[in-house]
């Protein structure tokens, strides 16, 4: 009874009209196309609206702590490299509370896919500024408007050394599902930041606001996603025009390649009932 439709029956707790529905649909589509079955996929999340996603997909799920999806995800992949591991996280979850894991897991380059539902707001906690909130945006906490410079996820990921960096838009479901499929198939840490309107708390960066700005980067004939400097420029674009698509892509050795995990029995399959520690004990043994 392998599960290929990825349809969960859990009731969805998002607001009607939320951009998360588009992402959910695109992810379902990508998973269906991937040919994987639900028991081979592990969805990992932290806490937030975005982080509820794994419950709405019929695949394995680890819904952990706010900000801590990445460590769980990479370790699960290290433990069982047969899993396809996908993180569904929010801008607060991934770039705020989880910022340190974001930086260092890019360096680790474990083969996982990270989908950031980026609504530029803390949704579940009712609308405080997130790392990606536009400057000047007013909330109940940021009463004079957000003072901090916004975080640039794509540019930062590039500088930190990520090999697959993309931006999607929840309003472009097919395009997004293609991106997701590419990310899933990419070997290494793949980041997709997805523009996701929050109809309840972000009255600035609305569906319309994004729609008027996004354009597909690969429609731009001169765009070469393997050129890092161009990617730096492109990932800095945020204003009248916002690029979506694969911003940067580079094939390189993953953690599993370098650590030898790919050339051995998965950790989870090892026999643990008969560890023979003679050799290690011998190291400490002294015959009088």
């Amino acid at each position: 009874m392998n599960i290929h439709d990825f349809k969960s029956t859990d009731e969805i707790a998002w607001c009607p009209g939320c951009g998360n529905f588009g992402i959910l649909g695109a992810l379902e589509l990508a998973l269906k196309k991937s040919g994987l079955s639900g028991n081979q996929v592990l969805l990992v999340s932290g806490i937030g609206q975005a982080a509820k996603t794994p419950h709405y997909i019929k695949a394995n799920c680890f819904n952990g702590l706010h900000g801590r999806a990445l460590p769980v995800a990479v370790a699960a992949k290290m433990a069982n490299r047969n899993l396809t591991v996908i993180v569904t996280t929010g801008d607060g979850d991934c770039y705020g509370e989880g910022g340190n894991h974001f930086l260092h897991n890019i360096r680790r380059n474990v083969d996982i896919t990270v989908i950031v539902h980026d609504n530029q707001i803390y949704g579940l906690t009712k609308g405080q500024a997130s790392p990606t909130t536009d400057p000047g945006f007013v909330t109940k906490v940021q009463t004079d408007g957000s003072l901090l410079q916004p975080f640039h996820p794509l540019q930062t990921a590039l500088a930190a050394g990520a090999g697959f960096i993309a931006r999607g838009f929840s309003g472009e479901k097919n395009h997004l599902s293609e991106l997701l499929l590419e990310a899933i198939n990419y070997r290494g840490f793949a980041l997709i930041d997805v523009l996701q309107p929050c109809v309840s708390f972000n009255k600035k960066n609305t569906f319309q606001w994004y729609s008027e700005r996004v354009y597909k980067v690969n429609e731009d004939v001169a765009y070469d996603s393997s050129d890092k400097e161009q990617a730096f420029r492109k990932s800095g674009e945020w204003g009248k025009r916002i690029p979506i698509g694969i911003i940067y892509r580079e094939e390189k050795a993953t953690y599993e390649d370098k650590s030898g995990l790919n050339n051995r029995e998965p950790l989870v399959d090892m026999d643990i009932e008969n560890s023979d520690i003679h050799k290690a004990l011998h190291h400490y043994a002294i015959l009088t």
């Binding site: 009874m1 392998n2 599960i3 859990d10 707790a13 028991n39 081979q40 592990l42 806490i47 509820k52 794994p54 419950h55 019929k58 695949a59 394995n60 799920c61 680890f62 819904n63 952990g64 702590l65 801590r68 990445l70 460590p71 769980v72 995800a73 990479v74 370790a75 699960a76 992949k77 290290m78 433990a79 069982n80 047969n82 899993l83 340190n100 894991h101 930086l103 260092h104 650590s259 051995r264 029995e265 950790l267 989870v268 399959d269 090892m270 026999d271 643990i272 009932e273 008969n274 560890s275 520690i277 050799k279 290690a280 004990l281 190291h283 400490y284 043994a285 002294i286 015959l287 009088t288």
Partner: protein, 567 residues
């Protein structure tokens, strides 16, 4: 001939104290003696003043003495600094000329270490080892062999040079036998292990089938990671250094959720950062083993020193009510066996288990009978791979009589598995229901503790029946408590030692302490064990013997303190 001897080698960080110390341990052990070696070091890499101390005895020993019999200062400063720990009979072996000591007093025995070392400071260690060997009448072949192994990598010339210098030192030592006879009765020969507490924990983890170790460096826990990394290839273990302790515990949980036995280790400050993760393990019912290798707090505290100040913090780790177990080995053997038990309990009951140790136990080396590792059988509580495919309608948090749900492995079963840190249904989906909450608390908390109580490690004890007054300790004070109380048997004293502090072994403890005068012995300021005993047994200790200066109890100090309580 003497029964025992305490030798201290003191000098700056970077003078190779650990190297000389461990060579000496091997030589002494090979010569047929028992030993207990502890380290006292500062939180710096060079300079300052550290020491390596070794107690050598005909009988097994595993605690420190207050006074040293022989001091080997590696610099002039060390003489002044360690004089206070010498007795009238102590000998100080020092190169009077080289150190420029102006008026050497009687206790100083002048040995031209510098000259023996052909004027090269780096060989003074070797000269000292040779000299000690000669004084103790150890067969020089033993020394030669140890030096060979130690310097093998540096090439034959260096090996020979060391052997030559050791031999010259040895001859000096032989001549000194008259100055102070430090020969010790030999012990019976047998194969034993020479290792410290952290190494024993690492070995326990390997035996228990741990395949994933993830940690962030922190003294005094780092040597667990080093040891496991050393053997990682042999046992197919993945060792990963995390970016911080929050990542470390969440990675251990992630690997475990994926079906692999995993562990992390840290000290107080890092353990503080793991609190939310421990609570996550409790909520998601994910087995995980965490070592808190204590050092004195609060905050950064004394990074390289010892304390037992985290007891309350550890047993109450993590917000909310959930089941956990806390072990605190008292001996090197227990470091090994309780680590295995920690994995067993974590896996069987799907809970976090914490092993509490401390710098003193972590870093001290002693000779220990070879662990009875072949008799230990390890059982995995996952649904085995070959039974997995027949699983239908899997529910991660299925309600069962004892609260334990069968644990399937991602991808081994056909079905999917939902794991959740929110309050959840049997399926693992988020819920808001009060009824579900009640059964889940029942499952995670009440029923779990009922099961855990069945497996509690009873306290070990000595002379409790006859004694009027009992001294209680936990963790690393075991050995000193044992030595002191056994020597005071005639005084109607006894001791009780706890190797498990949570769930608290109240049913086992109450009969032992009822109607007795009791005191706790603790390496902390808070008398935390005393409070715990009061709460859990309703019996209030009369008082506590506390030490919180970052140093372990010596046999002599504890004896004096106990004598004060007896009178």
């Amino acid at each position: 001939m003497k029964e025992e001897l305490t030798i201290r080698i003191a000098g700056e960080a970077g003078q190779g104290l650990a190297t000389i110390g461990s060579s000496l341990c091997i030589i002494v052990k090979k010569a047929g003696f028992n030993l207990f070696a502890n380290q006292d070091y500062m939180s710096r890499i060079r300079g300052g003043n550290n020491f390596f101390q070794i107690r050598i005895s005909a009988k097994p020993v595993s605690a420190i003495k207050e006074k040293i019999d022989i001091l080997i200062p590696l610099d002039k400063e060390s003489i002044g600094l360690h004089k206070k720990d010498c007795s009238d009979d102590s000998l100080i072996l020092a190169d009077v000329k080289h150190y420029g000591i102006e008026k050497p007093d009687d206790s100083i025995i002048d040995i031209p270490f510098f000259e023996i070392s052909s004027g090269n400071n780096t060989y003074i260690n070797t000269a000292a080892i040779g000299c000690l060997g000669g004084m103790m009448d150890i067969d020089f072949v033993l020394i030669e062999n140890v030096l060979k192994t130690a310097f093998e990598k540096k090439g034959e010339t260096i090996v020979q040079k060391n052997i030559h210098i050791a031999k010259t030192g040895y001859e000096y030592g032989k001549k000194l036998q008259k100055a102070g006879d430090i020969r010790i009765k030999p012990s019976t020969a047998k194969e034993e292990l020479l290792l410290n507490g952290n190494e024993a924990i690492a070995l326990g983890a390997m035996k228990a089938g741990m395949k994933f170790y993830c940690a962030y460096p922190m003294t005094p826990s780092t040597s667990i990671m080093n040891t496991i990394a050393h053997f990682a290839h042999d046992y197919g273990i993945l060792v990963e250094q995390a970016e911080d302790e929050i990542a470390a515990v969440n990675m251990a949980i992630g690997a475990s959720a994926a079906g692999v036995r995993s562990m992390t280790g840290t000290s107080g400050g890092g353990f503080a950062l793991m609190q939310e993760g421990i609570s996550l393990a409790g909520m998601t019912e994910t087995p995980v083993v965490i070592v808190d290798s204590q050092r004195p707090g609060p905050a950064t505290g004394f990074p390289t020193r010892t304390e037992q100040g985290d007891l309350n913090f550890v047993i109450h780790a993590g917000h909310g009510d959930f089941a956990k177990a806390v072990f605190c080995p008292g001996t090197i053997e227990e470091c090994f066996s309780l680590t295995i038990k920690a994995f067993h309990i974590a896996d069987k009951y799907q809970i976090p288990v914490i092993i509490m140790t401390d710098q003193h136990l972590a870093d001290s080396i002693r000779n220990t009978p070879v662990f009875d590792h072949e008799k230990i059988s390890i059982q995995s509580y996952r649904i085995p791979k070959n039974e997995s495919l027949s699983i239908k309608d899997y529910k991660r948090y299925r309600l069962t009589d004892n609260g334990i749900s069968p644990r399937a492995v991602f991808s081994w079963i056909d079905d999917v598995i939902y794991t959740d840190s929110d309050e959840h249904t049997e399926e693992g989906h988020i819920t808001e229901s009060e009824e579900t909450r009640n059964v889940m608390v029942e499952k995670r908390f009440f029923k779990r503790y009922k099961e855990l109580e069945k497996e509690i490690i009873p306290p070990s004890y000595f002379n409790t029946e006859n004694a009027d007054i009992l001294f209680l300790g936990f963790g690393s004070t075991h050995n000193v408590l044992k030595e002191v109380c056994e020597s005071l048997k005639e005084e109607n004293t006894g001791y009780i030692h706890l190797s498990q502090v949570w769930p608290f072994p109240k049913d086992q403890l109450i009969p032992l302490i009822k109607d007795k005068r009791i005191y706790t012995v603790e390496n902390n300021a808070g008398a935390q064990l005393a409070g715990l005993i009061s709460r859990e047994t309703g019996i209030k200790p009369e008082g506590s013997i506390l030490k919180y200066d970052g140093r372990p109890f010596s046999v002599d100090l504890l004896k004096r303190e106990i004598m004060r309580r007896i009178k």
